[in-house]
């Protein structure tokens, strides 16, 4: 099945051989906005002084930045390369699990050592490990440390896992899928199946990741247990902003050059690209894996702010929401993905968190927590039907008007 997505928005690269930023003015704008936003949030945050923005709101904003990062990754793989992956949130979750293992292990170890130190004689290493295991896995009726937790106490190892596990999974899965030329909706369904398999796997109690309990207490950072959450939240906010900024620059660089040209060409007509001598499957695999890695990093920053991760986070629906954000924001432009992620996720928190006033008609009362999903669903249908370029398309309109 050949996919023709000719309606897609395309920024035509203008004059040759000018600087990267000159060619991509949106990058400058974006970085400026991000910097300003970070500054404002920091100044107004509870942790840094004024306290106009509560700690929980700082966390939500920091988490939103992480969602923006995975959204731009999704935009590159879907909006630019034409692969509608319904599995990128799985990579996000894996990143979260990888860092969560260290957070949970290291913190439990500190607590356990504290408890055992109260005894008359000091604990052996085996006793500590045993107590940690009992503490973490008591909830699933086990007291043994599973094999995959062998190096959970090592931060560098788990940080490597944040990148390696999503990367390897994407590499193997992508290799299998692209090699057999699975494309279009088939590929989407296959990635969804992968996500489903992963979440079902994690739901089991005996897989060593605490089943549906997931990993919890991730907001406590070992080594910084004395730092109040209000300050930690700002640190994580900065880290998320830095990651988003770096990710944006990186992806903007990736998609602006000849590489971007090739992957857009693959999206529009992969047969033709093949006859130009490019290994289409290799490129797809490259983009799929690269974005999976970035998704993993975004997840590793997100979940310490969320404090808890469980298999429900990885459910196929999450990955579809990701596609919804990118579609609403506007595919094929990085800032579109950011706009979509910010708009939808903040609107969702606002409406479902009870922030929005309910509307009383007398005969019927609109409770937003009940109606938000209906609104989102229908809104999404309307965007797909009438604004295929999404919110980002408005910028094109404005620019054209100015000209």
């Amino acid at each position: 099945m050949t996919m023709q997505l000719s309606e897609d928005p395309q920024a035509v690269a203008p004059a040759p051989r000018r600087t990267f930023l000159y060619e991509n003015p949106s990058v400058l704008w974006f970085m400026a906005c991000l910097g300003l936003f970070t500054l404002i949030v920091s100044v107004l945050s509870e942790g840094m002084g004024t306290g106009l923005i509560s700690t929980s709101l700082v966390k939500i904003l920091g988490m939103t930045l992480c969602l923006c990062l995975i959204a731009i990754a999704m935009d590159v793989v879907w909006g630019y390369c034409g692969i509608l992956s319904l599995g990128h949130f799985a990579f996000f979750g894996i990143g979260g699990y990888a860092i969560g293992m260290w957070l949970m292990y290291a913190r439990t170890e500190i607590v356990v050592r504290g408890n055992l130190a109260a005894g008359t004689i000091p604990p052996t290493e085996a006793e500590v490990a045993e107590a940690v295991a009992a503490q973490i896995f008591g909830v699933v009726g086990s007291s043994e440390l599973p094999l995959i937790w062998t190096f959970a106490g090592s931060l560098p190892f788990q940080l490597a896992m944040v990148v390696l596990v999503p990367g390897l999974l994407a590499l193997v899965f992508g290799w299998l899928a692209f090699r057999s030329r699975v494309t279009g909706v088939y590929l989407s369904i296959l990635t969804q199946a992968m996500t489903l398999a992963l979440s079902l796997y994690l739901f089991q109690n005996d897989t060593g990741l605490r089943g549906n309990n997931g990993l919890s207490g991730l907001q406590n950072i070992p080594g910084a247990l004395d730092v109040p959450q209000s300050v930690l939240s700002v640190w994580f906010f900065w880290a998320s902003a830095a990651a988003l900024g770096a990710g944006y620059l990186f992806f903007a660089w990736v998609v602006s050059g000849k590489f971007g040209s090739v992957i857009r060409a693959i999206r529009d007509n992969k047969t033709r690209v093949r006859f130009l001598g490019y290994n289409v499957e290799g490129y797809k695999l490259f983009v799929f894996t690269l974005t999976a890695v970035i998704s993993g990093i975004a997840g590793a920053l997100y979940y310490p702010q969320a404090g808890i991760i469980n298999p429900a986070e990885i459910a196929p629906i999450a990955s579809i929401y990701l596609a919804v954000w990118v579609a609403i924001g506007g595919r094929g432009r990085l800032y579109g993905a950011v706009i979509g992620a910010v708009t939808v996720s903040l609107l969702s928190s606002w409406l479902t968190g009870g922030g929005a006033p309910n509307i009383d008609f007398g005969f019927y009362r609109i409770v937003w927590t009940d109606w938000w999903l209906v609104l989102l669903g229908l809104g999404f249908v309307l965007v797909t039907l009438f604004f295929p370029k999404g919110i980002g398309g408005l910028f094109d309109y404005l620019v054209r008007k100015k000209e």
Binding site: P16, K258, F275, G277
Partner: protein, 246 residues
Amino acid sequence: MTNLLEVSDVSVTFDGFRAINNLSFAIAEPELRAVIGPNGAGKTTFMDIVTGKTRPDSGRVLWGERQVDLLKLSESQIAKTGIGRKFQKPTVFEEQSVRENLAMALANRRGPFSVLFWKATAHDQARIEELAAEIGLADRVDHRAGDLSHGQKQWLEIGMLLAQEPRLLLVDEPAAGMTPAERAHTTDLLKGAARSRAVMVIEHDMEFIRRLDCRVTVLHEGAVLAEGSLEHVTRNQQVIDVYLGR
């Protein structure tokens, strides 16, 4: 003069329909060759086989001095060995500029990492400008390819083929939908290209082929019916029967 491409006894069947039937064909380098034939003669399928899009049921396709078996290679590998193809319908990347289209086709390394770190050298720049001039699009290099006229798209695609620096060019109906002036330019382009490489043109239009002034192969029902100069084949009784439908 050795053959660049040798196709021998190739057959392919779609759902019981023999699209290609024991076809044998050879082309040398440099050479300009026109392939004609009525609808359904298997012209496009023949190109599909050479470029790796369709796998034949039997037969051999050998390439170059080292007699490489093309049937073992993927489409992109075949393209990299030096076979360029222009499709019947102009297929340029409409969302991208003429420059980007040409840059993609330039004979540089094709791996993802090389492409990611690729920067146009002065030579690349010059080559793009030169090609653009050759296909008459010098003043439109930074325009969206989708905004070009039909004929210009055809030229752009030929330009992309030339940028690939292939040893064999397969061109499917390049003159379809062109004005007479555009046809003349296309003829020149192809003849120019054929000075240093093998060019195979599929075309319906006899006038166009006459102007190409080259050896002609007539395909019918998936096999070669006749081969020789245009005068020679048009005098062939079988060819006349086929074209007049008997």
